[in-house]
């Protein structure tokens, strides 16, 4: 029949082989199944249509623009604007917000607070925890204790410019190192501060004198704090780094200068105010949960 008819026929498929043999491997000369050809044509047609409609082939310094005239930056901008418009209603008012008026506006709050929670989780939770409960070395935001103040205005200020940042308006707080102090004095001071924490401080004239000479200027007499200068109260177990003996010794030796970044360039004015409002309520929410 064909000129290859001398070639071996595979009994299973009935197709003839190509006549080659490599270490026992043979090949059948099976013709291309029609479906392969049609499938190839289909993918080619798809591609040609895509090339006609979309930007596709480079020509010199230019490229074929495609009949649809699509541009990915324009599309991205449009999508972004569409979303921004949707947010306009509830986000816009936060730009120059009157926080006290907001406290009473339930509708506004219901619209804004779920978004604020996501904003908090995406930007703040890495250090402060998902519920703002803090982690070792980073402050709890869900209590009533604040280094500066817990009002939304003051929190917004902190978010905007950060703590110990390069910003000109940064909040500034430094616990200096007391490594110049004789070790027995540091030990006495540390023991005193540990006892301040649980309120069981024993009258110890020497340590109390050391405290008022070296610490009270920032932490307040008897460590009651409240000076809003970044120095924590030492009598309400709210110290960020811990108030056990070895931690206090470490703090006295090396000092502390914790940093919170400034968010002015990352978040809009409205988003910062929204976050501030959300954070200011975390303490109250926590209390409600506790009750």
């Amino acid at each position: 029949m064909s000129k290859h008819s001398h070639r071996e026929i595979d009994p299973v498929t009935g197709h003839e082989t190509t006549g080659h043999d490599w270490n026992g491997i043979k090949e059948l000369n099976t013709p291309l199944p029609k479906i392969v050809i049609w499938a190839l044509i289909l993918t080619f047609v798809y591609s040609v249509i895509a090339w006609i409609l979309l930007p596709a082939w480079p020509i010199g310094r230019d490229y074929t623009r495609g009949l649809l005239g699509l541009d990915q930056s324009d599309i991205a901008l449009e999508d972004y604007r569409a979303l921004a418009t949707k947010r306009q209603d509830w986000l816009q008012p936060f730009e120059n917000v009157d926080f006290s008026a907001l406290q009473a506006d339930d509708v506004w709050q219901n619209n804004a607070l779920p978004a604020a929670q996501r904003l908090f989780e995406d930007n703040c939770a890495v250090c402060h925890g998902m519920q703002g409960r803090g982690i070792q070395g980073f402050p709890v935001l869900s209590d009533e204790t604040w280094l500066w103040s817990g009002t939304p205005e003051e929190i917004a200020q902190t978010i905007r410019y950060g703590i110990n940042t390069d910003s000109a308006d940064t909040r500034y707080a430094e616990m200096p190192s007391f490594n110049w102090m004789e070790r027995p004095d540091r030990v006495a001071l540390a023991e005193y501060v540990v006892l301040l924490g649980d309120g069981s401080v024993k009258p110890n004239a020497a340590a109390a004198t050391l405290f008022s000479e070296n610490c009270a200027a920032c932490h307040g007499e008897a460590g009651i704090g409240g000076l809003e200068n970044g120095a924590p109260a030492l009598n309400d177990s709210s110290v960020i780094y811990g108030q056990d003996f070895s931690t206090v010794m470490q703090t006295l030796w090396s000092g502390r200068q914790g940093v919170m970044p400034a968010w002015t360039d990352r978040l809009t004015q409205a988003e910062i105010n929204l976050l501030a409002f959300y954070v200011s309520r975390l303490g109250a929410d926590e209390k409600q949960v506790a009750q």
């Binding site: 299973v12 059948l28 392969v36 480079p58 939770a125």
Partner: protein, 541 residues
């Protein structure tokens, strides 16, 4: 190994070992400290070790003249042993880093064991250590059998294998010490890259020389694929790794590419590493071991031609699909997307050709776990190439990109396709080079098969779920135009899938350990060498 070399070959080997040792010493001395110095000492150690081995046995009895009438399998055996060692190490590291994603607090406090340094140890160890050794070892075997010619010389295969493994060790120990170019699948620093070029050119030349001596009129398909793998990987490796060292004595460099050009070159390399390293080479393996094991002819030679040229032509264009919706111009993305779609048919033609080849041998697929490995490999090859073309379509990619779906896709290819065909080839090869009829334990092969299949399925299904969940969570907005989920919520949602992935990987690793044991036991009981048909056509008696 040394017993297979003649005295003059041993002398040449001794000279090369001394040169390697001297290079290592020079490198260590120039760098004085740090990664490059450690790597110099590693090369020095290898060179001195080899010099002592060769020097000590230099005047031992020579192999008999008959050896030239049979194939040279000692390098293949060494390559298989290295394949198995890398498999166990790199899969174990993979399972460990998978576990760290579920238990991040288990990360030890040393920088050397941080996730960021261990992950490339897994990828390089698996792709280059496990996959690369398997490719080199099987290519030597297949090349000789399908050409009916002995390897062109006895020294270059050792240069290739030892040099290649030195590169792999340099790469992974470099990552542990914090040395990286930060290019995916090309993290090794400039001097290791240069070394690999030398090794790879030796490999290419050896392949061509042997092929030129073939006693068969035609070149078999497997060799087309192996050659495409060797040639294109050389091109990709050189172009992507063009870099200027900071100093000749330090393990730091600047790539000559920058910005979006760098990204494009990187993913042109990255995707074609998948195409020509993880696909073409292993298709060569499939094209030899599947018909050998099943005893069936390749179903269609014509389909092989369409597949081969389709795969080699289309793949080289598709790297830009890794950069959809980025600073890469839209037109380059469209080309990457459309060529990915056109790539589907040639890929499926290969998978279909392999499966149709099994017609008439299905009873063997049922009974023989080794052949079943190859069948499953062909099926997963088809699945993951379909998935690949699908994920390359721009709107689909907008959901899948940056999610664990990509990780799932890669592993459906690497576990389901690449590793399965390697195991199929190993279980065919190891008994043969041991002069035995079968592996020591066929039950162990069954166990390995089911562990590998279930591990792959658990892994891939977990990652599909993980990836689609992530993609949907990231893009969801509520009616007010605010994000419905924070990123951390999407991380929390991953926990069950990351646990499942770790379990799937663990199952797969267990199978590989069984395989390593089975091979060790079989090789230990080796008697004689492979039974092949005579290398040269024998005169009629």
């Amino acid at each position: 190994m040394i017993a297979t070399l003649t005295v003059s070959e041993r002398q040449a080997g001794l000279l090369l070992s001394i040169i390697l040792a001297a290079l290592g010493l020079a490198m260590a001395a120039a760098a004085r400290q740090g990664v490059m110095s450690v790597h110099g000492f590693l090369a020095l150690g290898l060179g001195v070790g080899l010099a002592f081995m060769l020097g000590g046995a230099i005047y031992d009895p020579e192999p008999d003249e008959d050896r030239l009438r049979s194939y040279y399998d000692a390098p293949t055996q060494f390559g298989i042993v290295m394949t198995l060692i890398w498999a166990v190490i790199a899969m174990a590291v993979g399972v460990w880093v998978a576990a760290l994603l579920y238990w991040p607090e288990a990360t030890p406090l040393w920088p050397e064991t941080s996730f960021g340094r261990l992950r490339p140890v897994h990828t390089t160890g698996i792709i280059f250590g496990f996959g690369g050794n398997a490719l080199i070892a099987t290519s030597f075997h297949v090349l000789q059998r399908t050409s009916r010619a002995r390897l062109a010389d006895s020294i270059s295969p050792w240069v290739v294998l030892l040099g290649y493994n030195l590169f792999c060790v340099w790469a992974v120990t470099g990552y542990l010490m914090g040395s990286t170019q930060s290019k995916e699948y090309a993290e090794a620093e400039w001097y290791a890259d240069l070394w690999l070029v030398v090794v790879w050119v030796t490999y290419f030349v050896l392949y061509l020389r042997t092929l030129a001596r073939r006693n068969e009129p035609h070149i078999y398909v497997a060799n087309w694929y192996y050659l495409a793998f060797i040639l294109v990987v050389a091109m990709l490796h050189i172009v992507n790794n063009l870099a200027l060292p900071v100093r000749w004595s330090s393990a730091e460099s600047f790539p000559i590419w920058s910005g979006v050009q760098d990204a494009m070159i990187q993913w042109w390399y990255g995707h074609n590493a998948v195409a020509f390293f993880l696909t073409a080479g292993f298709l060569g393996m499939l094209y030899y071991f599947l018909p050998i094991r099943s005893g069936r002819p390749i179903w269609s030679y014509r389909l092989s031609i369409i597949s081969f040229w389709g795969i080699t032509f289309f793949y080289i264009w598709v790297g830009s699909h890794h950069l959809h919706y980025t600073a890469l111009p839209y037109w380059a993305q469209t080309l990457g997307m459309t060529f990915s779609v056109m790539l589907l048919v040639p890929s499926w033609a290969s998978a279909g050709n392999a499966i149709a080849t099994l017609n008439g041998a299905w009873h063997k697929v049922r009974d023989d776990a080794t052949l079943r490995f190859m069948f499953v490999a062909a099926v997963f090859y088809g699945l993951s190439t379909f998935e690949g073309s699908f994920l390359a379509i721009r709107p689909v990619n907008s959901l899948s990109h940056y999610t664990d779906w990509t990780v799932g896709h890669v592993h459906s290819g690497t576990l389901g396709w690449v590793a399965m065909i390697v195991f199929g080839a190993i279980y065919t090869l190891v008994p043969q080079i041991s002069g035995r009829d079968a592996m020591v334990s066929s039950r162990a092969i069954e166990w390995h098969f089911w562990l590998a299949v279930s591990g792959t399925l658990v892994y891939v299904v977990a990652m599909w779920n993980a990836g689609i969940t992530q993609g949907l969570m990231w893009r969801a907005y509520d009616e007010n135009g605010a994000l419905s989920y924070s990123f951390l919520q999407s991380v929390q949602a991953m926990a069950p899938y990351y646990l499942l992935r770790t379990i799937g990987g663990g199952l797969f690793l267990a199978g590989a350990v069984i395989c390593a044991w089975n091979c060790w036991a079989t090789l230990r009981l080796a008697h004689g060498s492979a039974k092949d048909r005579p290398l040269l056509p024998q005169p009629a008696e």
